[in-house]
């Protein structure tokens, strides 16, 4: 039997990035994936005969350029379309507002004064997101090995690097932990625009726009880039699975062995050191380095609390990771028509979030275990640009819908049909007649996502991405920076710094950290 230097648990995109980076550095790597195929939450799957869709993540907006470069994804079949995908803020009372270019380089449908205000705010948001960008790309600072003055020196270095003016610096710090609603109110008037920005800030988290720190979510998004363009987004041809296909090809080229249907049941630890894994079928595989690309709390339950300290187990248990985002897939007879939206703009990202207040009201019930009666959502029609995803003339709709609290009070069995009705009412209001064209519906609640994709809580980021669970507290102190209390065991998934989304950054950073540690 071949022996491996490294075992990567989980063949999601971060696992593949970590594995390939390690493989290219000369390590012999085995990836163990529980599902029948790789890709995790970034796959393209058939949900109805002839209809294929990005099964969870559907908009690509933060795949890191270094990941593209190091894995040579373009050589392995990834093609970025150059034209940027617009975001369309839908409205039932007004014409839609269209953000063109990379996150609204220009605005269609706003007054001149609003467009000017937006230009200013957009520039400011990108400037400030740019300050955070290096922190969201690197390994988090290691407080344990650093004095307080060194830490603040590092922070200041990061800041001054950007050569901010004094005024800008003050405003950056003032805004850092603000809620997005207040920031938007300081700058903008247009409810459609504010609704869209508010939605983007809270997408994938358990926050409303008026929750303190909600602005961070928007910065996180804007710190992403595609094809060198900050804030750009696209719907990959072939769905998110196309990214995975390129990553899979890159992995094979690097000599990585991938085994699917290989669920890890236990991480073997001897004298405080990870020495291998046991699979569901009791097969044991040993390696010097174990890299976990799955959720951090799942990782530490595979380790078992017997091998961990009480305080650490307590911290892991307290990681908040109950998702609020559901995924809707519709197989439609024909493309729907959203009110007032130009034909070509249907290829964009269509957002139902008519105002900040609407998003906030959608959030409110989720605090008490109830779904939004008027949910907010981000809709894509991927088959318009890529007809291979649907049979001739038919159409695929893919939507991320909030808020659908993981722990629904009445339980999802009872709640799911009701939630679907609430979603459909919203869709019908914005695209009259859509209901009549439905051939098949698939709604994945966070509970479904947890079960199907092995993502605890069905959480976007494998754990809330909020200030207290970021940087050196992500996923928890003691396991930030990819090392864990168990020697030889590393984390590299979305639950680690900087967080989730199809970026590959946790995977890349973890691999680099492991290489730098040199076994």
């Amino acid at each position: 039997m071949t022996s491996f230097d490294v075992i990567v648990i989980g063949g999601g995109h971060n696992g593949l990035v970590a594995a390939t980076t390690l493989g290219r550095a000369g390590r012999k790597v085995l990836v163990l994936e529980a599902a029948g195929e790789i890709g995790g939450a970034a796959r393209t799957e058939e949900f109805f005969p002839g209809f294929r869709v990005s099964s969870i993540a559907h908009v690509l907006n933060r795949l890191h350029p270094e990941v593209v470069k190091i894995l040579e994804l373009e050589k392995h079949g990834l093609a970025f379309e150059r034209q940027a995908t617009p975001s369309v803020a839908l409205s039932t009372t007004d014409d839609p507002l269209v953000l063109r270019g990379a996150y609204g380089e220009s605005l269609d449908g706003a007054t001149d004064s609003e467009a000017a205000a937006w230009r200013e705010l957009r520039a400011l948001l990108f400037r400030y997101a740019g300050i955070l960008k290096p922190f969201l790309a690197r390994r988090p600072p290691d407080l344990a090995d650093m004095s307080l003055s060194e830490t603040s020196a590092l922070a200041m270095a990061g800041l001054s690097l950007k050569r901010l003016g004094k005024e800008d610096m003050r405003d950056f710090l003032r805004m850092l932990l603000m809620n997005v609603a207040d920031v938007l109110d300081e700058h903008l008037e247009d409810d459609r625009l504010k609704g869209l920005l508010a939605f983007d800030a809270v997408l994938g988290s358990h926050l409303g726009p008026r929750s303190p720190t909600s602005l961070l979510g928007l910065y996180y998004r804007l710190a992403g880039e595609i094809g060198g363009v900050p804030g750009a987004q696209l719907l990959p041809k072939g769905g998110m699975g196309a990214i995975i296909a390129a990553m899979g090809a890159s992995a094979s080229a690097a000599g990585i062995v991938v085994r699917s249907n290989a669920e890890v049941a236990k991480i073997l630890v001897e004298k405080g050191r990870a020495v291998g894994v046991a699979l569901q079928n009791d097969e044991q595989i040993r390696a010097k380095t174990i890299v976990s690309a799955i959720n951090p709390s799942s990782t530490f339950s595979l380790v078992g609390s017997r091998e961990l300290d009480t305080g650490f187990v307590r911290k892991v248990k307290n990681i908040r990771m109950m998702g609020d985002a559901a995924k809707l897939h519709l197989a439609l007879d024909r493309p729907p028509e959203f009110l007032g939206v130009r034909t070509e703009d249907h290829r964009g990202r269509l957002v139902i979030a008519p105002s900040t207040d609407h998003v906030e009201r959608a959030f409110n019930p989720s605090k008490y275990g109830e779904f939004s009666p008027e949910p907010v959502m981000e809709i894509t029609l991927p088959s318009l640009a890529d007809p291979s995803l649907a049979p001739d003339g038919a159409c695929v709709l893919s939507a991320v819908v909030q808020y659908a609290p993981y722990a629904l009070g009445e339980g999802w069995e009872a709640g799911k049909p009701k939630f679907l009705n609430a979603i459909m009412a919203q869709l019908e209001a914005h695209a009259p007649g859509i209901a009549k064209s439905i051939r098949h519906t698939e709604l994945l609640t966070p509970l479904d996502i947890e079960q199907r994709y092995r993502m605890p809580g069905g959480h976007w980021h494998h754990g809330e991405l909020q200030a207290d669970q970021m940087l050196m507290s992500r996923p928890v102190s003691g396991a930030a920076g990819y090392s864990t209390p168990v020697d030889g065991l590393y984390l590299c998934g979305a639950g680690s710094h900087p967080g989730g989304g199809v970026s590959g950054v946790p995977g890349l950073n973890a691999a680099r950290h492991i290489i730098a540690m040199k076994a």
Partner: protein
């Protein structure tokens, strides 16, 4: 009724505050209070872990000699006690505490300690293995939240039993005779650190050959409602063997002679320490011998072993013998009479050793590799005037006294 961690999540568990109501009464009475009150001639009380407890009862000098020449009854009911029970009880204790619990057989007791993740000592105490899946942990401080959090992933139940269980230490050369005459048949078979249960009235009393005096002695644990009748049973037969109740001052002398440390007297426990430099790793307070690097994982293992490997231990706890006869309590320790290197945490003139002894914490390398030329500065109050004495101190092994009768088998039966 062992509960798994899964079942004991926050929503199904009663609020933790309700599980430990001890603080609601200031100076709780002990289950033995009526008997102790009746003997308290000096009315010399202090608070021990929230309980009203005597410093002395009639004469602290004679109380001390009761320990060394008769049978001294000391109420240890205020000691914090936890009941640990379940299929994983051994594994649980092994993960929480430093020593290897798999080596602790049912019917045995060991002295151990436990640490937080950073390896800092949370407390020391005794672990009683009453049955294969049933333990009792006795200590100075409260730890219920920590212990409950430690149950995550273990099939084990942890329950506070401080108030439900009364404890009585019977220490001194005639202690066995008292127990024998009280009718605890077979108690003489107990070797040091053995534990057995004996019938008492409607229930059972757990008797262990343990104690805090370095002498022959036993500790008895009974359900609180049987405490008074147990006391009476011992005192009725004990009169001829010189049984007397004692307070903490006498016990404290005995424990210093025995070289034993007291949490929050000789070191600051991790959850009480406010200042970061007061935290202590086991090796820094003389408990390094407990750390078993070969046993399965335990809390703090990683940091303790790393500190050993990096030689980054900062402190050391030592026994001192000091010239003269004036106790050096809380005296500063100097190297070459100049450099301040530590503090004495406990000191007495030892009547048994006939030496002036102390327990002190020193900053390494002093006490570790540098052991010569140590001094203590004693301020002796003499009629409203301090006399400052600089006395030579020598590091000596603990215990300061070793009594054969403590471990003799069979024990002296006088």
């Amino acid at each position: 009724m062992a509960k798994t961690a899964r079942k004991t999540n926050a929503s199904t568990r009663p609020p933790r505050a309700a599980l430990q109501g001890h603080f609601r009464t200031l100076r709780l009475p002990s289950p033995l209070q009526p008997r102790i009150d009746a003997l308290a001639k000096t009315e010399d009380w202090y608070t021990w872990a929230g309980y009203k407890a005597p410093l002395s009862l009639w004469d602290e000098e004679l109380e001390y000699f009761t320990i060394r020449s008769q049978a001294a009854a000391f109420d240890i009911s205020p000691m914090v006690k936890y009941r640990i029970e379940g299929a994983d009880a051994e594994a649980f204790c092994n993960r929480v505490t430093l020593r290897d619990v798999s080596k602790l057989k049912p019917g045995r007791v060991h002295y151990t300690a436990w640490c937080d993740d950073a390896g800092h000592v949370l407390d020391d105490g005794t672990l009683f293995r009453l049955a294969p899946t049933h333990f009792r942990l006795c200590c100075q401080e409260r730890h219920l939240p920590w212990l409950l959090d430690s149950t995550i992933g273990f099939d084990v139940m942890v329950e506070e039993e401080t108030e439900a269980v009364a404890g009585l230490a019977l220490q001194g050369p005639t202690s066995l005779a008292v127990l024998r005459d009280a009718g605890f048949a077979g108690v003489e078979k107990l070797k040091i650190f053995d534990l057995a249960e004996f019938p008492h009235e409607s229930g059972m009393v757990a008797i262990s050959r343990t104690g805090f005096t370095g002498d022959l002695g036993y500790e008895l644990f009974v359900p609180a409602k049987l405490a008074l009748s147990l006391w009476d049973r011992l005192f009725e037969v004990g009169r001829l063997h010189g049984i007397r109740a004692i307070g903490y001052t006498a016990l404290n002398r005995a424990r210093i002679e025995a070289g034993l440390i007291v949490a929050n007297a000789d070191f600051v426990t991790a959850e009480h320490a406010i200042r970061g430099d007061r935290l202590r790793l086991p090796d820094e307070i003389g408990l390094g011998f407990m750390v078993d690097a070969e046993k399965p994982h335990f809390n703090g293992r990683r940091t303790i072993l790393a500190a050993r490997a990096n030689r980054s231990m900062k402190h050391v706890l030592v026994g001192l013998e000091i010239e003269g006869n004036i106790p050096a309590e809380h005296a500063i320790v100097y190297h070459r009479q100049k450099r301040e290197v530590g503090l004495v945490s406990a000191a007495i003139w030892s009547p048994m050793a006939k030496r002036n002894i102390a327990i002190a914490s020193l900053s390494r390398p002093y006490g570790d590799t540098v052991t010569d030329d140590l001094w203590v500065e004693i301020y002796a109050m003499r009629e409203l005037k301090y006399e400052r004495l600089m006395k030579r101190a020598r590091i000596v092994p603990r215990p300061f006294i070793k009594l054969e009768r403590r471990t003799a088998n069979p024990p002296a039966n006088v």
